[in-house]
């Protein structure tokens, strides 16, 4: 589904990703872990098409297509979803209008008929239940005045509505208390299907207690330096990132 080869990315002349390789197939859950500044969030933004970054080298294929040539909205319509680490507040834009517009854009792209207001509300209510998000949130402006946890739940809610093929969740667990974490994890698990994939970007092993990854990758200095199964996460939790630094610098 997603194939990344030798991806090199820099920001204002400063290299961030230095030859990243990653293969993600349908039905898989990948976790990318790494210390601060290793390039995790850059990776997520590049997949979603943020133009702030300079792609220096490498290729990214998504469902056989060149992802790097696509606009952010095209990527979204093609099934890529980014759960933002810091979802932006957009005062004045109501959640309902926003998601209805997004869903209808996607449906148009897929050749499906547009949803009426009533149909949309029905779908929205269904999905709301799934992530246990109160309807009062959907009546407000996008993310405006939401608490940290509410913002993250809102991201999962949007993911549920848009039914992506590939979800990249950037530190979705950060700033969540244990109850919110469970809700978010349940949402992700519920949405997991044989034909979609998830990349979890996280700092801590904690989230992986609730969402079991098929693969764990360690990102360090803009490269994936170690990959393994879910046990790698536990090892990392135990030994800390210093361990990764040591083994990397040895090599």
């Amino acid at each position: 589904m997603l194939s990344i080869k030798n991806l090199k990315v820099s920001v204002e002349g400063k290299p961030i990703l230095n030859g990243l390789n990653l293969e993600v197939a349908e039905g898989e859950v990948h976790a990318i872990m790494g210390p601060n500044g290793s390039g995790k969030s850059t990776f997520a933004s590049v997949i979603a098409g943020r133009d702030y970054f300079d792609i220096k080298e490498g290729e990214v294929k998504y469902l056989g297509k060149n992802l790097l040539e696509m606009s952010p909205e095209m990527r979204s319509k093609e099934g890529i979803f980014l759960g933002f680490q810091y979802p932006v507040e957009i005062p004045g834009v109501s959640m309902t209008n926003f998601m209805r517009a997004a869903l209808n854009e996607k449906r148009e792209h897929l050749g499906l008929k547009q949803l009426s207001g009533a149909e949309f509300i029905k779908i929205m209510e269904e999905k709301q239940e799934l992530v246990n998000i109160q309807s009062k949130l959907t009546n407000r402006s996008v993310n405006e005045g939401f608490s940290g946890g509410e913002k993250k739940k809102n991201e999962i809610f949007q993911m549920a509505l848009l039914e992506p093929k590939l979800s990249v969740l950037d530190e979705t667990d950060s700033g969540l208390d244990i109850d919110a974490l469970k809700i978010v994890a349940n949402g992700v698990n519920y949405l997991k299907r044989k034909d979609n994939a998830t990349i979890l970007i996280t700092h801590y092993q904690r989230l992986l207690d609730y969402i079991i990854p098929d693969f764990v990758h360690v990102l360090y200095d803009g490269k994936i330096v170690k990959s393994g199964g879910k046990e790698l996460a536990l090892e990392l939790e135990e030994k800390g990132y210093e361990w990764i630094k040591e083994i990397t610098n040895k090599e």
Partner: protein, 470 residues
Amino acid sequence: MADNNNTYNSENFKNNLIKLYESNRKYFSSDSSEKTQKLRDKAFKSFKEYGFPNKKDESWRFSKLDQLFRDDYEFDFEPKLKKFDVNKIFTCDVYDLDTYCVTLINGWFAYKNSPLSVLKDGTIIGSLSKALEIYPEIVEKSIGSTAKIDQPGFVSLNTTFMQDGLFIYVPDNIEVEKPVQIISIVDSKNPIFIQPRNLIIVGKNSKLSLIHCDHSLSHNISFTNTVSEIILNENSYIDHYKVQNKGRNSSLITSIFFKQKSDSKIINNAITLNGGFTKNQIDLQIEGENCSSNLNGLYIMDKNQHVDNQVLVKHNKSNSYSNQLYKGIVNDQASAVFSGKVYVEKDSQNTKAFQNNKNILLTDEATINTQPFLEIYADDVKCSHGATVGQLDSEAMFYLRSRGLCEQTSKQLLMYAFTNEIINEISIEPLKNNIASLVEKRLKGELSICDQCILNCDSSEPKFIQNILD
């Protein structure tokens, strides 16, 4: 602006108007009482002395007037139709909103049966010229009491030529049940110059909502120079809306003078969606304590449109609050000016005055000039102002696009969100919904200069509305 005559300038125009007044005195003296005649004479003298503002006049620096000065304007010193069926010519409707609706046609009050109505609660609504005849004691006391005629500009000109316009008198202790809606229509085949004069008096402890719509019935050239005086007595309240959707050949200069007595409250919304040349002047004099005023404005300009909002809030007494919030989106070659001033007079202690102007500039051909001024002579004050010129937030753009919205839709959505801060201030719910949908249409490019009342854009058939004049 169509065919500009280069040799014709403000001086010629001024001299023509002076001649015009002198040779048509009979229209202006017959219906004037002694007091209004004095006011008229004074205004005429002032107009002769100062004339029109020029480039050096700071408050007119960015609004080029040359295009307004023409020698082919028609003047209706008598209403073309004294009496006619207002329902037949034009009506305007806000969905779900029941109003007392009145109409001015080319500056003249249009009516079916009577030019002046008295509601059950004693509120008088109708023609200013008739009111001067029937209630001279009310009109004379207030007319000219706030409008400044001793300076260059259009107020002395309006006062010289004033004949008719809207008159509202709300007695003490009355909450006017329904909003009053005034539709000011310009309809003429030839270029026309009209000067409506409105006088609104809200009594002690009374409350009034007033919706004022300006629009054109044709794309012909017109120049409207309106002066409104709005007097708020103790503990009164006005909720005032001005909605402008004019043709590109219309020029509109509106001067509103508010006088606020103690404990009174103003909410003023100026919404400019289209217009060739629009200048909105607000002069607010706070003459009592514990007053509050919210002056909001929204402008969405494109093509060659020009809008200039000039706001003066003068705190002459202590313990009052004022807030100005003006937001605008400027596209194509359009230009927008905001010049706001908060003036805090000596000893007007414990004043809270705020001022903010936010703009989005969409092209390099468009221009924004903003001048938020503070002039403060008292020390125990909290005043602040801010102004920004910028673009849509790129973070927000990305967020929307990452959810699959195309660039265009994302832009529209964010622009709409930008306007929301103003729209949310509209307290009459049906009006808010209407204006919100108008703004949305405007941003999508669907609302242009329509011949229909903007508040009724959707329907091709004029709707019947309850008219107090029936």
